[in-house]
């Protein structure tokens, strides 16, 4: 009997026993549903982290010079923490030294940020993220405006009281009014709106549009970093990933000589890249992937046991049929193939249904939660292969029992 013949026979048997087939395939179906859904969520988060999240916090090919790492991976030891505390803070006076040897194709900006309260007229003040940055910030972040303009080099150099605001402030303060030229109070300091930034969307359900961007030297810096002369970071963007690696070394050497570090002494500053943030995520992803394997695996094991059970029952019920087939010339391997293919087909059908359900589930989760979904094609292939494999494994024992039946005894069965 050919393979195709066996598949056709199996499909026929499945069709004629719809309810029983449904119950036998449901375990594999659920396992595969979870497999697809979990993989697509992990994949979605991962894509999100790389393209979106990392991009929002770390522009491409950009690293930051900081006092200590902003994003820490795992637990920080007491000793490490104390070492960070001993480090000198990053100051405005470090900026020129840090960037002095960088090539001309590099864009850089000092950077300080903090949450502050913004008010307009008599409206309820709004909590926003305030940034003190240089004019290159817009280029580095590829931040485009929907209205107005960015600050001019003069405004930047002089530290004028001008801001570019995020969309949430427009919604809060300027419904039906042109925000350009209006005055917003950041803490006690009045600022004039010169531009509105393009909407940035949200990350994990948190709006990315609640911000104001002011020139680095403007008075806001008293609020974004309360220690006089101290800044959060210097953002440095290189034209390529390769150039970034080289530029990091240039900044490292410049900073070391600026601070008079001897070769044996470690850096007393940090150079942080998006890969740091991504490394952190990679660690989360590992645990998620473990859950992503465990959950479907349990489903598939249960599914395999159900199928094995159902196939044993099927062999017992169809002993007479097996006897008849043997009397008509079916060899052991024909009977073996028949039941193996039936079991595999059953579970593959279940797996296929699970693929559909899993994709649907992934999109439902994506719709009702901030988690994005990205159905990975390899997970679909894997799911169907694993589903079929489960059927084969579960079918081996029942099928070999069927194949070994004595035709005379089988023909005599009820």
């Amino acid at each position: 009997m050919s393979f195709l013949e066996a598949v056709r026979l199996a499909l026929h048997t499945i069709r004629t026993q719809k309810l029983k087939s449904f119950f036998s395939a449901v375990g594999v179906c659920i396992g595969v549903t979870f497999l697809i859904a979990v993989v697509s969520i992990i994949e979605g988060m991962s894509q999100y982290m790389q393209n979106d999240f990392a991009g929002k916090f770390f522009p491409v090919n950009t690293f930051e010079l900081r006092h200590r790492p902003n994003i820490t991976i795992g637990n920080v030891t007491e000793e490490q923490w104390r070492e960070w505390q001993r480090r000198p803070r990053l100051r405005e006076t470090d900026i020129a030294a840090a960037v002095r040897n960088l090539p001309a194709d590099v864009a850089w900006t000092p950077y300080s940020a903090d949450g502050i309260s913004a008010a307009y007229g008599n409206l309820k003040p709004k909590q926003v993220q305030a940034y003190n940055v240089g004019a290159d910030y817009f280029r580095i972040k590829q931040l485009k405006l929907t209205a107005g303009r960015v600050f001019t080099p003069q405004e930047d150099a002089l530290g004028a009281n001008v801001i570019v605001i995020g969309k949430d402030l427009v919604d809060a303060f300027f419904t039906g009014i042109d925000p350009i030229g209006k005055e917003i109070k950041l803490g006690p300091i009045p600022y004039r709106v010169v531009g509105v930034a393009e909407p940035q969307g949200s990350t994990f359900g948190i709006s990315m549009d609640k911000f104001v961007i002011a020139p680095f030297r403007s008075p806001l810096k008293r609020l974004t970093n309360r220690q006089k002369g101290v800044i959060d970071a210097v953002m440095i963007q290189s034209p390529s990933e390769l150039a970034m690696a080289g530029n990091m070394e240039i900044v490292r050497e410049s900073m070391r000589s600026h601070r008079g570090l001897r070769p044996a002494q470690p850096d007393n500053f940090s150079l942080e890249t998006a890969s740091g943030a991504l490394e952190f995520f990679a660690k989360i992803k590992k645990y998620l992937a473990l859950a992503g394997i465990a959950l479907p695996a349990i489903g598939l094991i249960v599914g395999a046991m159900v199928i094995m059970n159902i196939m044993l029952v099927a062999v017992a019920e169809r002993t007479r049929e097996i006897g008849v087939r043997k009397s008509l010339g079916a060899r052991r391997r024909d009977i073996l193939a028949q039941f193996l293919v039936e079991s595999a087909t059953l579970s593959t059908v279940g797996a296929a249904a699970g693929v559909g359900l899993g994709i649907a589930l992934a999109y439902v989760i994506a719709a009702v939660s901030p988690l994005p979904a990205a159905v990975a094609w390899w997970s679909v292939v894997l799911a169907v292969a694993v589903g079929g494999g489960v059927g084969v494994v579960a079918g081996v024992y029942p099928a070999s029992r069927a194949a070994r039946l004595d035709p005379i005894a089988a023909l005599r069965a009820d």
Binding site: T13, G323, V324, S327, L328, G329, I408, L411
Partner: protein
């Protein structure tokens, strides 16, 4: 009748040569030599067959009879290649099958033997046509040719109009005719019927016996196992087993005269 005269001549010659004289080959489709079969039933050895010698010519129509416990079922399983003897030789259509492996026996069953069972043994979820196709499936015949040949076989037993019916949509007689079509579809050397009328009423039994009669006259070798003397009397030759050996082997006329009193 001239046929009965021929048969009595055959019977006489057999009396002279005996089964041991028959050489397996073209003329003798079945030759068994000293077939024995023992079962171990919980430590007790049961000798179901104690040396059966039988030779059947091509085109013969033989009834095998015997009371229960005579070994007739065991012998039928041997002849049908469902079982192998503990001792002795069985030649089927020139092949020594008594020493073959399971899978080789399966292929012999597929090619050489057409089974007709008392309980029909049709697959309940398959149509008449699909049931008849089964032996061809295991013979590796392609789908189109299979359908054609199965349809032809069903036409032969006057079931051309019932091909797409499932067994439970057919009468007992029709089911048995489907089974006969299935038995014949791969052109077997022997048609082996085990109590073929056991589950049928007398009218339907007659109808089925007429089918066998037609097949036998057209040259099909038929071996029929039965315990009913009037069914056995339809055959041309009657072999009676008792206690695992051949007790009598005679023409149907002789059997009728002896057992049914003419």
């Amino acid at each position: 009748m001239s046929t009965s005269a021929d048969l009595s001549v055959t019977a006489e010659r057999r009396a002279v040569t005996g089964a041991r004289g028959a050489a397996p080959g073209r003329e003798w489709v079945i030759v068994t030599r000293g077939i024995e079969r023992q079962y171990d039933m919980g430590g007790e050895v049961v000798r179901a067959l104690r040396g059966v010698d039988l030779a059947v010519r091509r085109n013969e129509y033989v009834a095998i009879m015997g009371p229960s416990g005579s070994g007739k079922s065991t012998f039928m399983n041997m002849v049908g290649c469902l079982d192998t003897p503990s001792a002795g030789e069985y030649w089927l259509n020139g092949q020594l099958v008594s020493t073959m492996s399971d899978d080789a026996l399966a292929q012999v069953r597929n090619k050489e033997i057409g089974f007709v069972f008392q309980t029909f043994n049709l697959l309940p979820r398959a149509t008449a046509l699909q049931n008849v196709e089964l032996p061809l499936v295991y013979a590796g015949v392609g789908a189109r040719e299979r359908k054609e040949r199965a349809a032809q076989a069903l036409e032969k037993v006057q079931l051309g109009q019932r091909m797409s019916h499932k067994p439970n949509e057919l009468s007992g007689g029709q089911r048995q005719r489907v089974a006969i079509a299935r038995a014949l579809v791969n052109n077997p050397s022997i048609l082996l019927a085990d109590e073929p009328t056991g589950n049928l009423d007398s009218t339907t039994s007659e109808e089925i016996m007429r089918v066998f009669e037609t097949l036998a006259s057209s040259g099909q070798t038929v071996i029929m196992v039965t315990h009913e003397p009037d069914i056995a009397a339809h055959a041309r030759r009657v072999v009676v087993l008792r206690d695992g050996v051949v007790a009598s082997d005679e023409s149907a006329e002789a059997y009728r005269a002896r057992v049914l009193g003419g």
